[in-house]
Assembly symmetry: C2
Homo-oligomer: 195 residues x 2
């Protein structure tokens, strides 16, 4: 999505160690009018896909998930992050690893809010190695629900998580795919999805 | 707000110990079309108040803050919760206590995203004893910014946090104020704010 690619260039910062800092508009401060435009674009791409629920994970997935849901007119369920795997019977859970924070966690969703009737769109801010997405897919499968696709705002293509999911036959739509940040210069993968 | 009061009655659950469970539409599953209506009502109440930024705290404040911001056309900054007070120099922080989780935490906002030019609306899902609101007010004052008001979706009036803030001269708008839940029956404070 051109608008997002330009925003990342103008407002994002590439820090040593290939870290992309975009907390001025997506991770800490949220540019909500802009995020609503992203949400509208995601809704356009998944029009007619039968999505009746969006699943994300706290905390930084919630804003983009809310924006998408407002245009698709569906509810969001956000997975909660727990430190231990010692969780009650009335929830689905799966383990994941955060490379940003360098820790393991268990993602948890109440059984009340996912069932085999659901056709779920997974939405998150970042997709790198794909650990969070894989863990949400696991939870959705436990519930017997189907996965309409995975959406990320920014995919770090060079970390391979998105392409691994695509190879498994999952529809993955990222609004910007970064194929390299060598020397602090961001190179995008060509975007064929935009209207 | 009538619509919200009815939704709490029909979908909320009062559990032993005066606990109100509304995670079917506001805390875990998010009824986004409904939350957008709440956001619109908050924007109406604060029209002309000069708000240029919304501050909330992760995780369950983010959806309602995003909804309000989409109608006010302003950014959101969400405070992050840290376990230790051992934080870097480039952030504002203040301590708070979570009665829901029974722990202390430090709320943190980067100095980059709050300044004396900001007129801030604080938005959160719940207001009970007011610990989270007070800690966000503290952070906003550290930045030299002004507080336009505090908004909660559901205020537990009988816990006194909202009235304490009102007594300090702060404008507090809650979309539903519960004055008692004795015997599992919810009694609302009369709402004079609705159009």
């Amino acid at each position: 999505m051109k608008l997002l690619e330009e925003k990342i260039i103008s407002e994002g910062k590439v820090l040593p160690g290939n870290i992309l800092k975009v907390d001025g508009f997506i991770n800490h401060q949220l540019d909500v009018p802009f995020i609503m435009q992203l949400g509208k674009e995601v809704a356009r791409r998944f029009e007619g896909a039968g999505v009746n629920k969006i699943v994300t994970i706290e905390a930084s997935g919630i804003a983009i998930a809310t924006a998408v849901a407002s245009f698709m007119n569906v509810p969001v369920v956000f997975a909660k992050k727990h430190k231990s795997g010692n969780i009650s019977d009335d929830v689905y859970c799966a383990g994941a690893h955060s490379f940003t924070h360098g820790n393991d966690y268990t993602a948890v969703i109440s059984k009340q809010y996912l069932s085999e009737k659901d056709c779920v769109l997974i939405v998150d801010d970042f997709l790198a190695l794909g650990s969070a997405m894989e863990c949400l897919i696991d939870i959705i499968k436990q519930a017997g629900a189907s996965v309409a696709g995975c959406v990320s705002v920014i995919e770090k293509g060079y970390q391979g998580g998105g392409d691994k999911l695509r190879a498994e036959g999952i529809r993955v739509e990222s609004l910007a795919v970064i194929d390299s940040m060598e020397g602090g210069k961001i190179k995008y993968r060509p975007d064929k999805s935009e209207a």
